[in-house]
């Protein structure tokens, strides 16, 4: 084996190794067992090329769930999520089937290569195709040779745990719609370009004369093309205009339809009579440009709707239900559960449905519903909620509610209702549509009146030309293009905006509501402050390592990960200056843990205590200020930190403050936003005292800072803010936006109801679908960038609309004066559209710092 320099990171993902790395038989080192598993799998399957293909791209921790995926084999699973591609000749069995699976853990191009090698790895799989952008693997397989659970386990062991896609039929329907729109766009493009080719010949005729028969032939050709363009891809504008006329609503389709019809009718007449001008290529180009704008917009909306479906992946897909016939617990899809079923839940699993605990004792992580991960105890008779995690031990439940009837399900419904209620304000351009149509028609009548006494034919001619060239083409493009460009730029900054309408809604300055944990503070507990001599830390760590309480775990990790560069970079806890080894060498005996209070042990013959302040006081330890330099218990608690104190031989020697540290840039960013006029508040499920402390540290008005807020409470607060904004809005203008910033599911309903919901990184992948914007990088600086970018985008949209209107005015003036001809028209329209395009893409909406 070649000698290689010791790589500083995990041999699979390249990320830094923890203090005690996982080591395999050959001596390779990994940051976690997931990476170890995948490394081994790749080696034995001959897929090492993965590392070469990944190249310099950053790796990520391999997520291997290690589950059995037995529920994938249940009969109802295939009915819900699979598709039959081909049956056996006798029609009985299925020869080929396909399934779409959402896979976690896809980070880079090499992952595409790996997932698509699945057939090499799992016999019976014909092909696997990964859609990188949507993280969906399309697997075609032979159900007679391989089971779905085997396929799922194969993907899992490669590091890509799969999930079924709820609502995949709706997703398929949306995809078909997008394909139809693309076809329409392609047809319009082909017709427009060919019409232009013919038009060039006709321009030659205008400039240097043409044989009348030839001219009629060419005009006839372009008439056919333009007619096709209007009747096939352009049909949607005709339909929209007809509806707008019938219902007397303002919609941009109406002036467009008028222009298209006038162009075809006038041009057809002139072709047959052999006089005047024709504008067929402009008509075809109109249809094409307008469809480009609509297609881009439609794509945006579909992306938003697809991600909303991901929210449903929150409740686990499977459950183990008691089957009285076989006398065993059997894996079933959780959608197949019904109230009254008895299910089994192991430690570490997600609760699949609301239920009542009937056997066992355990603790739960209810972060999904409360946002706080401190465990909650549950005994027989307690109510458990879908989506929470069972932490401690195996229990059995009787299901009381499933699907939409669970607490989580009704939260989802609130989210969906809020999404549909939140109709985006009519686009600025559409509001102009009514006035625009009337002005256009008035000008056309004026043109007729102006020229009629002089020359009847010319009058009609010029009126028709007016209707065509003044058609709101660039106007229809300005908004969608500006938004698409801005969304792309924002994505490069890590700000992922779903459905550009969110950018339009962020108009002006309004109310900003923030979640606390994960948004303003880091999600994990960590040591925020530390006092005492560094030598004490070694034994404190050894003692705390004996406990599995979350506070002890946080302290053990902070003390064990100590190294000089780490502390400096993270802004580590003040007071711990000396680097520590792995804490070996300290002998701890007589360990006794009192749940929730502390750990008592014996180190070097002395009795030591590590635990809460109350407990130490009860054991007779003096807690007066001054015994440990710099330490003030009252001040620590006022800062919102939870104290852990350490005493040796009855004397306090060290103290640590555990909490969620504020992101460093939070106070400065919020101050800047407040200076701009934003009203800022905090809605948190955490203890009100701690939340008040955070609010004070950020300089917020205490009346706007709330603790112990339930998910339903957050939704109510957002609705109150929206109501107030509507009341305060000047008539005719949009109300000030209410922006909710949170990190996941317990904020979901609030995120959806707010004018714009912003989800912050760190939340579960699927839970971010309720929000309009997802910030994939931590820190509040990106929030400011989002608000700034939205304001700038609005300015870009306005500029684009102004440019389009200028073009329309100029073209209308030329037409009324009788100076327009097809050459001019065919130049003016692309020029105005291209100007709008370049304005949109060259604008600096989301700059990189």
């Amino acid at each position: 084996m070649a000698t290689s320099e010791i790589s500083p990171g995990c041999d699979h993902c390249g990320l830094p190794l923890p203090a005690e790395p996982v080591v395999d038989d050959a001596g390779a080192r990994f940051c976690c067992t997931g990476c170890l598993t995948v490394y081994g799998v790749l080696a034995s399957a001959g897929l090492d090329d993965f590392y070469r293909l990944r190249g310099d791209e950053a790796g990520a921790r391999a997520s291997v769930s290690g589950r059995g995926f037995a529920e994938f084999d249940d009969a109802s699973f295939f009915g819900l999520y699979g598709d039959v591609l081909a049956r056996e000749p006798d029609g009985a069995g299925v020869a080929r089937a396909a399934i779409n699976l959402y896979v976690e853990g896809v980070h880079c191009s090499a992952c595409i290569w790996l997932v698509e090698r699945l057939p090499q790895f799992v016999p019976g799989v014909a092909s696997a195709e990964l859609d990188f952008g949507r993280r969906i693997a399309h697997v075609v397989y032979d159900p007679r040779q391989v089971k779905l659970s085997t396929i799922a386990r194969g993907l899992d062991r490669l590091g890509y745990p799969p999930h079924p896609i709820r609502g995949h039929r709706a997703q398929a329907a949306r995809q078909r719609e997008e394909r139809r729109e693309l076809v329409r766009l392609g047809v319009a493009g082909a017709l427009a370009m060919n019409a232009m080719l013919i038009a060039f010949a006709l321009y030659g005729g205008i400039l240097s004369g043409m044989d009348p028969a030839m001219r009629m032939f060419l005009r006839g050709g372009s008439l056919v093309l333009a007619l096709l363009a209007v009747l096939w891809p352009g049909r949607t504008f005709l339909r929209g205009g007809w509806v707008a006329m019938r219902t007397r609503t303002a919609h941009m389709d109406l002036p467009i339809a008028i222009g298209l019809v006038a162009g075809i009718a006038g041009g057809a007449y002139n072709t047959v009579t052999g006089q005047g001008e024709v504008y067929f290529e402009s008509v075809a180009l109109l249809v094409f440009f307008l469809l480009v704008g609509r297609y881009l917009q439609g794509r945006q909306q579909r992306v938003a709707q697809d991600s909303l479906e991901l929210m449903h992946a929150l409740t686990p897909a499977r459950a183990r239900r008691w089957n009285p016939e076989t006398n065993r617990f059997q894996a079933v899809p959780s959608e197949a559960l019904a109230p009254g079923d008895r299910i089994e839940l192991l430690a570490g699993e997600l609760v699949p449905a609301d239920g009542e605990l009937v056997a066992g004792d355990t603790t739960l992580d209810m972060a999904l519903l409360t946002g706080e991960s401190r465990p909650v105890a549950a005994h027989v008779g307690a109510a458990l909620f879908a989506g929470c995690t069972n932490l401690a031990s195996r229990v059995e439940l009787i299901v009381t509610a499933t699907g939409a009837a669970t607490r989580l399900g009704s939260l989802m419904q609130l989210v969906e209702q809020a999404t549909t209620r939140n109709t985006p304000s009519l686009r600025f351009a559409d509001r102009m549509a009514g006035r625009f149509t009337w002005t256009l028609l008035a000008l056309a009548v004026a043109t007729l009146a102006l020229w009629w006494p002089h020359d009847h034919a010319a009058a009609i001619e010029h009126a028709v030309a007016l209707l065509i060239v003044a058609c709101p083409c660039a106007l229809g493009l300005a908004t969608p293009l500006a938004i698409v460009a801005a969304v792309g730029k924002a994505a490069r900054r890590g700000i992922l905006i779903q459905g550009g309408a969110a950018l339009e809604r962020l108009a002006g300055v309004g109310t900003l509501l923030l979640d606390k944990t994960g948004t303003l503070t880091r999600g994990e507990l960590s040591v925020v402050s530390a006092y005492g001599a560094a030598e004490e830390c070694a034994w404190v760590r050894a003692v705390e390592a004996q406990s599995s309480h979350p506070l002890a775990v946080a302290l053990t990790q902070a003390l064990g990960d100590q190294d000089p560069s780490g502390a400096a970079a993270e802004g580590g806890p003040p007071g711990l200056t000396a680097p520590l080894g792995s804490g070996t060498g300290v002998v701890v005996t007589d360990v006794e843990e009192q749940l929730g209070r502390g750990v008592q042990a014996c180190v070097d013959g002395e009795q030591v205590l590590v635990g809460s302040a109350t407990w130490l006081r009860e054991r007779g330890v003096e807690l007066a200020p001054g015994c440990v330099p710099g330490f003030d218990l009252g001040a620590l608690i006022a800062r919102g930190e939870t104290p852990i104190l350490a005493a040796r031989g009855g004397v306090l020697v060290a103290a640590f403050g555990i909490g969620n540290p504020l992101y460093g840039d939070a106070p400065a960013e919020l101050a800047a936003l407040r200076a701009r006029g934003w009203r800022i508040g905090i809605l948190s499920g955490d203890d009100p005292a701690i939340v008040a402390g955070v609010g004070a540290a950020l300089g917020l008005d205490p009346a706007d800072v709330h603790g112990s807020v339930t998910p339903e409470g957050k939704l109510a607060a957002v609705e109150v803010a929206l109501h107030t904004a509507r009341l305060q809005a000047a008539p005719g203008s949009e109300p000030a936006p209410v922006v909710m910033v949170g990190d996941g599911v317990n904020d979901a309903a609030a995120l959806a109801a707010a004018t714009v919901g912003v989800a912050v990184c760190g939340g579960a992948e699927a839970s971010l679908a309720a929000a309009d914007v997802y910030m994939s990088r931590p820190g509040l600086g990106h929030l400011t960038a989002l608000l700034d970018g939205a304001a700038r985008t609005r300015r870009v949209i306005r500029r684009g609309l102004r440019v389009s209107l200028t073009y329309n005015t100029l073209a209308a003036a030329l037409a009324m004066a009788g100076l327009i001809n097809p050459i001019l028209a065919a130049i003016l329209m692309p020029v105005s559209s291209l100007t709008v395009v370049s304005l949109a893409y060259r604008s600096r909406t989301f700059d990189r710092d």
Partner: protein
């Protein structure tokens, strides 16, 4: 100049054929995912190895 009477319809027929090909491609989902194929270009076809990798002799 009379050949234009033949050439123009012929050109339109060619365009129609290209359009039919485009419509077929769009309807069968070739344009659904434009991002992943651009990354697949980097993979080599010849690397299909099954089973254990060969012994490294370094």
């Amino acid at each position: 100049m009379e050949f234009v009477y033949i050439i123009l319809p012929f050109a339109l027929v060619l365009a129609a054929l290209a359009l039919i090909a485009f419509i077929w491609a769009a309807r069968s989902g070739q344009f659904d995912d434009l991002e992943t194929p651009s990354r697949r270009v980097l993979f080599d076809d010849a690397q299909e190895r099954k089973g254990k990798p060969p012994e490294s002799d370094d």
